[in-house]
Amino acid sequence: MALKLSDYKTDVHNDWCPGCGDFGILNAIQMALADLQVPPHRTTIFSGIGCSGKTPHFIKTYGIHTLHGRVLPFAQGAKLANPELEVIAVGGDGDGLGIGVGHLVSAGRRNVDMVYIIFNNAVYGLTKGQAAPTLKLGMKTKSLPQPNVNNSVNPIALALVAGFTFLARGYSYDVRHLKELIKKAVAHNGLAFIDVLQPCPTYNDINTKEWFQGLDNIDPKAGKAIPRMYKLEETGYDGEVHSPDEINQKMSQVIEKSNEWGNKIPIGIFYQNEHVPTYQERIIARIPDYMENPPALQQIADNEGKTVTSIDKLLADLQVIK
């Protein structure tokens, strides 16, 4: 029996603000899971802290709502202990690029086969609108007492140099496009990163839905708004590393494209490189039956509770006389 979109929804009351970009991301995740027909029990959504941290509670898969900034190590631990699980980590920009940025960099070095989605609205919502690491320098949202004094981080470029092997950006109100990105990220063999731009209707009065739609930027000829988003795939951009000798060139174009901001903001897949061995593959090089017999599936005791592990050889080495 095919799984329906409703099979991925819970009846937990959603208390995000009306108009919050999180809704689009939540819908896109649920739609992607339904499209992929991933059994809910095989899927675990991990989240950090903040508004985005509540996401797993609205999705009817296993849901692990972790600590501020620590979603990636939690998620990697589960995936590596049981590589059969489909693991998706979600978190806010403050969570992943502020308090947890060290884990983002280290996760990149491992390239564990899973997906990480950052809900990027440039503010800390749940603590009432402080500047997040993606807020541009000098911006003063209505919730800030003074303009933002820090420069913003470029999440895509950061994830690139950290070693993520799939990089994409979506927009929370282009749900179908985002859903396709999520499906590709899940299918990607390695660590996938999706930076999702989203308005915070309550605290970010600069990067609003209207701003993204370009309502302030009317084409004088057509008299219509020029949306700020454009799709990379519609420009002939190809982020895929087809052979390892293309890596430098492909990485350079990611830096260039991810720096675009203002009136032209690219979304789509920036980069995909499956020439880097995943962490699972690196473990297999040492533990050949890791995928068939990962930690979570190993039997450790017999029916009477006696250990099945023999350390006889190691003890023989310690034995005074053999």
């Binding site: 190590p73 998620a75 202990a81 930690p295 509770g305 006389i321």
Partner: protein, 692 residues
């Protein structure tokens, strides 16, 4: 008569080494048996058989460890018991490290302050330890370095230089190695000069390979071999030990054996007829004995316990645990052609170490992380998450000297309060402390059982002293402790489900422990949250559910304290109304000191607390019931166990023996400290200070 003879034998056994010197020096030597023993057994003064404290020192990276391991192995093959401990600086190469090995016919559990034989091949070892060599002891040294001045050894730090100069000056001596040796000689220490460089040259000629003369790295084995020759140790057994230690490098092994034989013969001939009274005589070894280090025992326990996932961030002295697991990541299984395996992950920090471990534990894997104080500090928040979400996870906490970076390679038991209280808010955890290396193997299996059975984080307290000690003991019995995974549901039936088809992971019932299911289980969707949560695991701020969930989590501790057997809570050794209360690796020195006190007619009881949290209040209270004098012995400043005992039983220790100079307690210190208390001339708080 017979009883007297056996008492004397006991005295000799216990005292024959440095401990007897210590006792003789004691102001009040009231032991009649002891005095008689020395009078009657004047031979004892001449030959002290199989009982000594042997120390080898040298610059870090110069082979001190290998030499000590060879020595220990050789003695163990020769049927002797030993306790070894390693002291080293937070440094890679050049600073002074030393290895103390105490040898006996009987099991030994601690080190003594005195050195019977000091084996050196550099100047610093002499300067650092010459005062500790006992009156009839010996120093083996490189005769080429006797003119080295104290000020010429850059690694002896200023405070040590000042102390050493003061001692030499007081004796009217100068500041060379020769002066330090002279100082020892005046006290009766026997000196054994070894021309190591000359010997190397001769050895190279003998082997017809001039390149060998440059192999100064073999000096460690040469110095060791000289010490063995002087003590008449069987050279064949020594060669076997060398072969064993270098078993993966046959060429190196053979070369070292040759150098050993060459030096051994030289020393034997040159020092024949010396007055040195200590001898090591091999015996048939007892069957099924192992020689094991404290940084291996818990890791071995983890393998047997079924720990299949361990995370860590490098930190002294905990990393060895993880590295041992990783080096042996493929596991043999009984009755199966298949192999098991442990995934060991080096994380970016200790926050990731614990959070990743929790992620793994949620999939049903027995998971651990190993760390030390600074790392554990970073784990505090995640610890609370594990408590909140009832995740079974084990933290091996190898304590070292704090606070902050402290003395990063030295010992302390300063983290007890922190282990019990780390994290904000209130949540259940178990804190369990091992007292020695052998215990730590079995305890490791127990802590995983506790974690699974009570679904909470368990902090297994270990320490630097244990991690860097070496013992001989009975081979580990891997089937002794059964694996208990607690309440777990593997398959979900309709009745297991709760509202809206979801699994009630935190089901409220008469039993505060809800059956655990793991991520990936069919029909068992649940949620976890660091927020207060409902039975399904969804966020709630409902005041009634809050109370129910707090009660559920916290009362698991009541179940634990009810179920955990007494022998895992606190153990009593000996009897008497003078009662020592202690925890962790002070155990060895206390037990050994009790033996000597008993011979002198001082009966002492020792309570080793093992379950530190939840505190076994009733049991400890009843154990202390008849105590007239309670002595709290701990390796920390404030007497953390003493405070716990007061907090939970209302009973206050009358005396505290504490130590916080980074060096583990010696037998002498515990013996002297307790004896002073019994004699009635001790202050309420004694601070121990021995150790280089």
């Amino acid at each position: 008569m017979h009883a007297c003879a056996s008492a004397l034998t006991a005295v000799r056994r216990i005292h024959a080494n440095a401990a007897s010197m210590m006792l003789r020096r004691a102001a009040d030597n009231s032991s009649k048996a002891l005095k008689e023993g020395h009078a009657k057994e004047s031979k004892l003064e001449k030959t002290i058989m199989n009982s000594l404290s042997w120390v080898i020192g040298g610059a870090q990276g110069s082979g001190v460890d290998s030499a000590a391991n060879i020595f220990s192995r050789a003695c163990a093959i020769g049927g002797l018991h030993l306790f070894g401990k390693r002291e080293y600086y937070s440094n890679i190469k050049g600073e002074h490290s030393y290895f103390t090995v105490r040898i006996s016919d009987r099991p030994v559990h601690s080190h003594v302050d005195e050195i019977s034989m000091l084996v050196s091949f550099d100047a610093e070892t002499i300067f650092r330890h010459f005062e500790e060599v006992t009156a009839s002891g010996a120093i083996i040294y490189d005769s080429d370095i006797v003119n080295t001045l104290l000020d010429e050894v850059p690694t002896v730090d200023d405070p040590a230089v000042a102390r050493i100069k003061k001692v030499l000056q007081k004796a009217g001596l100068g500041f060379t190695v020769q002066d330090a040796l002279e100082h020892a000689k005046r006290r009766g220490v026997i000196l054994f000069p070894m021309p190591f460089f000359q010997l190397l040259k001769e050895f190279a000629q003998e082997a017809n390979d001039p390149a060998l003369s440059r192999l100064t790295r073999m000096v460690n084995v040469m110095a060791l071999s000289a010490s063995m020759a002087i003590m008449d140790f069987d050279s064949e057994v020594l060669a076997r030990a060398i072969q064993f230690i270098f078993r993966t490098k046959k060429k190196v092994a053979d070369l070292n054996v040759q150098a050993c034989v060459h030096t051994y013969n030289y020393a034997k001939a040159k020092f024949a007829g010396s007055n040195f009274s200590y001898r090591l005589k091999i015996k048939p070894p007892q069957p099924d004995m192992i020689i094991v280090q404290g940084n291996q025992s818990s890791a071995l326990g983890k393998m047997v316990a079924g720990c299949r996932f361990q995370t860590y961030y490098p930190i002294t002295p905990a990393s060895d645990d993880s590295e041992f697991l990783e080096a042996n990541e493929i596991l043999d299984l009984y009755d199966s052609g298949k192999k098991g395996s442990t995934v060991v992950i080096q994380t970016e920090d200790e926050i990731a170490a614990l959070t990743m471990a929790i992620g793994s534990a949620l999939t049903g894997v027995r998971t651990a992380t190993a760390t030390s104080g600074p790392g554990f500090s970073l784990m505090a928040e995640a610890l609370g998450w594990a408590g909140m979400n009832e995740v079974p996870v084990v933290i091996s906490l190898y304590q070292r000297t704090g606070p902050s970076t402290g003395l990063p390679t030295r010992h302390e038991q300063g983290d007890l309060n922190f282990a019990i209280n780390a994290g904000h808010g209130e949540f259940p955890r178990i804190v369990f402390a091992s007292g020695d290396i052998e215990e730590s193997f079995y305890d490791t299996m127990k802590v995983f059982n506790f974690a699974d059975r009570y679904q909470m984080p368990v902090i297994h307290m270990l320490d630097k002293a244990m991690a860097n000690s070496l013992i001989t003991c009975k081979n580990f019995n891997v089937k002794k402790i059964a694996i208990d995974r607690g309440l777990r549901v593997k398959q979900i039936t309709e009745k297991d489900k709760g509202v809206a088809d979801n699994y009630l992971r935190f089901k409220l019932s008469n039993n505060p422990i809800s059956p655990m299911v793991v991520l990936g289980t069919k029909n068992a969707i649940f949620w976890n949250s660091g927020d207060e949560h409902t039975e399904e695991g969804h966020i709630t701020e409902d005041p009634e559910i809050r109370v129910q969930m707090m009660d559920k989590r916290m009362t698991k501790l009541d179940v634990a304290i009810k179920e955990i057997p007494d022998e895992d809570k606190a153990v009593a050794y000996g009897s008497g109304d003078t009662v020592i209360i202690s925890w962790g690796s002070t155990k060895g020195a206390i037990l050994d000191a009790m033996d000597i006190l008993a011979v002198e007619g001082m009966r002492v009881k020792y309570i080793q607390v093992r379950l530190m949290h939840p505190f076994p209040s009733e049991l400890v209270k009843s154990m202390l019931k008849d105590a007239k004098t309670v002595i709290d012995i701990e390796m920390n400043y404030t007497g953390q166990l003493g405070s716990l005992v007061r907090q939970h039983t209302g009973l206050e220790a009358n005396y505290h023996i504490v130590k916080y100079n980074g060096r583990p307690m010696s037998l002498n210190e515990v013996y002297n400290g307790v004896k002073r208390i019994i004699r009635g001339d001790a202050p309420r708080r004694q601070v121990l200070k021995s150790g280089a």
